[in-house]
């Protein structure tokens, strides 16, 4: 078992680095594996679907296919409305659909996280249970939470992000 303070992937190879996309939700910095991000697109008003999970906004068309739009603010239990022009990450490997649109407040940049800089999370970070987190890192003196987006969008366990 990996304990707090050890590298999240448990490897000894200090030269490994993960490419992640750094983004913001409700003032907190998060990361997602770059290999999972197919594209970043502008937010468009979705078509509402019936009996959708509370954090799903509906569907949007993208190049002839339809994608479920997951609002990460809502999934993290943030009640306050987000920005007028959020960004949408088209993410693969996050549930049964080939691609899911994840609505985030703002996308910053692609970041290289050296494996030695990614730590296993404590039981909770910002109120998010460690089961939803792949690791925690620091960038520019700010904590970055590397999310397990697949787990986040395939379970309905309530989350309350701490402000």
């Amino acid at each position: 078992m990996v304990t707090q303070g050890q590298r999240a992937d448990g490897s000894d190879n200090s030269s490994k680095a993960a490419q992640v996309v750094l983004f913001q939700v409700a003032g907190r910095s998060f990361a997602i594996d770059l290999r999972q991000v197919e594209q970043i697109v502008e937010y468009r008003e979705p078509t509402k679907t019936p009996r959708r999970p509370p954090y799903v906004e509906g569907v949007v068309e993208h190049r002839g296919r339809y994608l479920a739009l997951v609002n990460l603010r809502r999934r993290l239990g943030v009640a306050a409305p987000g920005p007028a022009h959020p960004a949408v990450l088209l993410v693969t490997g996050a549930g049964p659909d080939p691609v899911v649109g994840i609505v985030v407040d703002q996308v910053f940049r692609v970041l290289s996280l050296p494996s030695e800089g990614v730590l296993s999370p404590p039981p909770r970070v910002f109120g998010i249970r460690a089961a939803f987190i792949r690791g925690v890192a620091n960038t520019g003196g700010r904590p970055v939470v590397w999310l397990d987006v697949a787990r986040l969008v395939t379970t309905t366990e309530p989350i309350a992000l701490l402000a």
């Binding site: 019936p50 009996r51 959708r52 999970p53 799903v56 068309e61 296919r65 339809y66 549930g95």
Partner: protein, 167 residues
């Protein structure tokens, strides 16, 4: 190069195969727009028959009195979680074939018939709804809108409808 150019030119002169189109009846349930293929639609009825037989409130499947018969009626508003307290004057019952049997669908309003291109119908993302994917034939764009096409066979196969047959 020349042959490719010729092929292109000849290609332009060729008659293009007509694009297959399908007529779809659009209707509203809550604030959502849905559609069903006209081929599966038998009749559009006013909803008087809905209250003609004793029914328990807020059930997804209730009874429809139709020409002396008692047919299953699916309240789509209940199924989709957007049910109004009372049936509005614009409400209609779509009489369709669902899994080999006549089936009524209570909708809030019948809107129009449009033509869509069947090859543009794409599947409903599984993560977009908690309902069974078998209830949806797919999604299709029309005039800048997205229409959710429902699958009447899927509706006719619902447990609630099968249970109705045993009543």
């Amino acid at each position: 190069m020349l042959s490719r150019t010729l092929t292109k030119r000849l290609g332009r002169g060729r008659l293009e195969a007509p694009v297959a189109r399908e007529q779809v009846l659009l209707f509203r349930v809550g604030d959502g727009q849905y559609g069903i293929g006209m081929r599966g639609l038998w009749e559009v009825l006013s909803p008087e028959g809905v209250t003609g037989l004793p029914t328990a409130g807020y059930q997804i499947c209730t009874a429809l009195a139709y020409r002396g018969r008692r047919l299953p009626l699916i309240r789509l508003g209940e199924l989709f979680g957007v049910s109004a307290e009372r049936v509005s004057p614009s409400a209609r019952v779509l009489l369709v074939q669902g899994n080999g049997q006549p089936l009524g669908l209570l909708v809030d309003e019948v809107q129009e018939v449009v033509e869509v291109e069947p090859h543009r119908i794409a599947p409903m993302p599984a993560q977009a709804t908690e309902l069974s994917p078998s209830l949806f034939r797919g999604l299709v764009g029309h005039g800048g809108r997205v229409i959710l096409l429902i699958d009447t066979d899927g509706l006719g196969s619902m447990t609630e409808v099968k249970g109705f047959a045993g009543n």
